[in-house]
Amino acid sequence: MKTTQNQNLNAHPVAINVLNLVKRFGALIAVDDVSFKIAPGEIVGILGPNGAGKTTTIRLLTGVFQLESNAKIEIFGKDITENPSKYKKHFGIVPEISNAFSDYSVWQNLKFSGRIYGISKGKVEERSKILLTQFNLIEKMYSKTKTLSKGLKQRLNFCLALLHEPPILILDEPTSGLDPISAKLMRTQILKLKREGKTILITTHDMQEAQNICDRILIMNRGKIIADESPNTLREQFKSTSTILFKIGGELSAEQENALLNMFNIIKEKNDYYVFSSYNTLKDISRLYKFSKERNIKISDLKVRETSLEEVFIHLIKEDLFVIKEDVEK
């Protein structure tokens, strides 16, 4: 019954339509005129540094914060402000940190959630058993939530989010701080949910995760969306960019090191590699050799690497900060 309802909803061309989201905390603009659309069945990742506005965007979307006057959110074509309670039922939310009642047992949390969403007692029992089995949590059914490990709490969050069979899932850094086994289980479940046709919005810091599971990526910085592309398109756009890595044979004087770092905008990594991005690999390598010869610096272990999504992310954030710095200086 619920699945049929979800299939009907998925027939609408746009699952989530967000227009002109703004959120201010005093003088601080946490979300600054954000707009995006998500199609049914799509997995969209929001990436951004800490304080970029990802979680605030999610809180606006899920009705935790009230919308400012010009903002609009449509879920399957319907404005959520018309009947917030009804549209909140379309969402299943998995937060980064467990927000289940710690003094309730796993089962009591599920029962409470079921009652709030108006699900019958029998259905709650049936759905709970399915979900607890799916997330390997059935043995902890009667354990108090506060006694569970972080990984188990996160599994409970997934169960709570899926209990009322929502067509849209919102995952706020769902694998953050989890052990590799729990994180893998979560990723497998996310991909399974995608196959079931769920629309998923996920925020993450994990570039590999975003690259593997997202159809589209929104990069946020300082409350704004600065990129909205598929992971492959993003990397394609920066294909002309490579990363050049090298080591230095022997010790560098402070003067030599300063000259080197300034010349190519180089970053020194912990593993002693010097790294910089290049738009013209051959030209930059020849410049680097000429520079090192003039200053008597020995270059060794030189490598050229294809740009990863992580490097695209860092590049975009840096570029955005550079534009802001220029604006401030003007």
Binding site: F25, G26, L28, A30, N50, G51, T55, T56, R59, T62, G63, V64, F65, Q66, P84, S85, K86, K88, K89, F91, I93, P95, I97, S98, N99, A100, F101, S102, D103, Y104, F112, S113, R115, I116, Y117, G118, L160, R222
Partner: protein, 267 residues
């Protein structure tokens, strides 16, 4: 629609009673405080059993009513469960009413038990059934009023229970001392009588005096009117404050000025 809303309020109310009845601050400030306050007031003094009964009922009603309502929001802010509730099909009004009803229910049950026990123990006799109904009406109004007062103080957008408990105790004790529990209004100066209007406990105590031994200062209808007015004012102020402070309570930046400054610096 209204039925669904009432159902959600009831679910929240039951959750609050179940989760918070055993919390330390609720037990300490709801049960132990009125007990020890009564002991320290009664021991070594020549006070009639009727006066002791009035004091016990008024203090129990006020202390139990202000025990649960200030605790819920700071705890749920810290545990993030408030955010979970807000993102489910529940409105802010329903959350606040769920807290109010839980706190009122807790106070009503405890005060009713204490009232009956001491009625029997002190052999307090009432003239008519109407007087008993009036007494329980007063207790009911005070339970709701005290819960509202607790809720009002909890509008402070903190996630630390101790922050709220400090403020509420700073408010509760002066209200208790100026209320006429310890010194009947008949024996007070005109200025003290004027000040006693600031405390809603004055009107419960006076109503109880009417019910127990007719030693009331105001009329019982005036007492009920004043308690009702207090409820209306506290309800409006409390709701308006919560609506204003809720975004701050939920925002990471809103939790402390220090965090806000750090965020600005990082940007």
């Amino acid at each position: 629609m209204i039925k669904d809303s009432l159902n959600r309020i009831w679910i929240l109310c039951m959750k609050n009673v179940f989760l918070y009845i055993k919390k330390g601050p609720v037990l300490i400030f709801g049960l132990m405080f009125p007990f020890f306050m009564t002991l320290s007031w009664v021991i070594g003094r020549d006070i009639s059993l009727e006066q002791v009964f009035i004091g016990i009922v008024a203090m129990t009603s006020f202390f139990t009513a202000t025990a649960i309502s200030p605790v819920v929001l700071p705890v749920e802010t810290r545990e993030k469960s408030l955010e979970r509730i807000l993102s489910s099909p529940i409105s802010l009004n329903e959350i606040l009413l769920g807290i109010l009803f839980a706190s009122t229910l807790y106070s009503l049950i405890i005060t009713s038990i204490i009232t009956v026990i001491f009625m029997v123990m002190f052999s307090i006799a009432f003239n008519s059934l109407i007087v008993i109904i009036l007494m329980f009406l007063g207790i009911g109004l005070m339970s709701f009023l005290g819960s509202l007062l607790g809720l009002l103080i909890a509008a402070n957008p903190t996630d630390m229970t101790s922050d709220v408990m400090i403020i509420i105790n700073l408010v509760k004790f002066p209200l208790l001392f100026i209320s006429g529990i310890f010194i009947p209004l008949q024996n007070s100066s005109p200025s003290m009588i004027f000040i006693s209007f600031v405390s809603p406990i004055t009107f419960l105590t006076d109503l109880l005096r009417f019910c127990v031994d007719r030693s009331n200062f105001f009329t019982y209808s005036f007492d009920i009117l004043m308690l009702t007015l207090w409820i209306i004012v506290l309800f409006i102020v409390s709701y308006a404050l919560h609506k204003r402070t809720m975004p701050k309570r939920l925002s990471e930046a809103g939790k402390s000025k220090k965090k806000m400054i750090m965020m600005k610096k990082n940007m």
